[in-house]
Amino acid sequence: MATQNNVNNDCKVIASSAVTIDPGAAGDSYTQFDINTTGEFRIGVDDTDDSFRISQGSALGTNDTFVMSELGARTMPLQPAFFAYLGSTVNNVTGGGAYWRLGTTTALTEVFDQGGDFNTNGTFTAPRTGRYLLCGAIKMGDITAAMTNDRIVFESSNRNYFLNSINGAVLRDASNVFSFKGEVIADMDAADTVYFKINMAEGAGNTADAIGQATHPVTYFCGCLIT
């Protein structure tokens, strides 16, 4: 590691508790972190809205990774996060014991996919090791009186989470519909994958439908890297 210098490379120690950065006119106020002349990260205040930003590269307002508004609302525009839903109904996916994965048969519709880690075939691939909030719902139709043993599963590389185990035959509504839902904070390693599945069993066949809707989500899968 190169020699560390206090404040400047002339090794002049500034006997101060603080450094103030001010362009002295309109404009951004920032600190630039470079390595061998390559701009890596810039932190500081963006004069466009006086927000505090941590931005990859050498400009505030481009590739912002962390934005703190003047009021203290923090967003992370590049944080891995996704929301996708089923835009149309897929018939005959389970009921007789089949495990059906959301996104197979019909590609999902993405509302957002920050980080580009989600595939519309229903696969989310963790870009890095961390704890991920996963949640979702599946609206099922054509549930019969025989489909008495049902559940959803978040199937991740590290482990499977079996949630919302119920007797769909009893809980289905007057239209033979029931919504499964669940959420978990999951440990995922970099390159791990997770799928969202449903399994309904004991029916005469896999005749239950996964209901999709074009505009307002009823069957969906979402997640976010939270820590």
Binding site: M1, A2, Q4, N5, N6, V7, N8, N9, I14, A15, S16, S17, A18, V19, T20, I21, D22, P23, G24, A25, A26, G27, D28, S29, I43, V45, D50, F52, M68, L71, G72, A73, R74, T75, M76, P77, Q79, A81, F83, V111, Q114, L133, C135, A137, K139, L171, R172, D173, A174, F178, S179, K181, H216, P217, V218, Y220, C222, G223, C224, I226
Partner: protein
């Protein structure tokens, strides 16, 4: 506080790998980001707060803290939009025969916290910035009858409505005629968009079902800005 040393970022970048800020005695160690003489954000270590690292709006660590990382690595954001509100008493005769009822529309909700003041006790949350918001609602219905054979719960945002918990409440209710509905989504919201939550039970003889409230929380709403 020691003498502040101003840096004009337009002049003479430091050809150095690092600089150290140290008051040389007790006291905060920080960098102040100002624009044309107006202090916008201060980042650094707060000597009065167990040496935590802070990003604070304005010109003081310890006031308007937007981000606090403790020396042990625990991160909090005291001004991040986040809400927990609950129904403090029962609202009777709100649904059962197709009526859609909005949480907070009859009895004002009780706030446990509303970190950025974006929530109205009539049940409406207004997004202060564009981002991805975690929304979770839970409502416990009461006085459910066997005839109420269809039910669902909705998160209604400006961009879209998320409907889940489709169930036959008349079959699924417990012996006290209760059944809880819940919904969760990571929702895309733009600045000034709103979110409310509703519930609909149908096919009953009338809108005679209640939503339970009380200090022992049974019906509540959680929202926070995730990223």
């Amino acid at each position: 506080m020691g003498t502040q040393n101003s840096i004009n970022h337009t002049s003479n970048p430091f050809a150095s790998t690092a600089f150290t800020i140290d008051p040389g005695a007790s006291g905060d160690s920080y960098t102040q980001y100002s624009i044309n003489g107006t202090p916008e954000f201060r980042i650094g270590v707060d000597d009065d707060a167990a040496d935590s690292f802070k990003i604070s709006q304005g010109n003081a660590l310890g006031a308007n803290d937007t981000f606090i990382m403790s020396a042990a690595g625990e991160r909090i954001m005291p001004l991040q939009p986040a809400v927990l509100a609950y129904l403090p008493s029962d609202d009777n005769n709100v649904t059962g025969n197709g009526a859609t009822w909005t949480l907070g529309s009859t009895t004002a909700l009780t706030e446990i916290f509303d970190q950025s003041g974006d929530f109205n006790t009539n049940g409406t949350f207004t997004a202060p910035v564009t981002g991805r918001y975690y929304i979770h609602v839970e409502m416990r219905t009461d006085d459910v009858t066997a005839a109420m054979t269809t039910g669902s719960i909705q998160i209604v945002t400006s961009n879209r409505t998320y409907t889940t918990s489709y169930i036959n409440p008349g079959a699924a209710m417990d012996t006290a005629l209760n059944i809880s509905f819940a919904a969760t989504a990571i929702a895309d919201m733009d600045a000034t968009d709103t979110a409310t939550t509703t519930i609909t039970l149908s096919n009953g003889a009338g809108n005679t079902a209640a939503v339970d409230g009380g200090a022992g929380i049974t019906t509540f709403l959680n929202i926070f800005l995730l990223c």
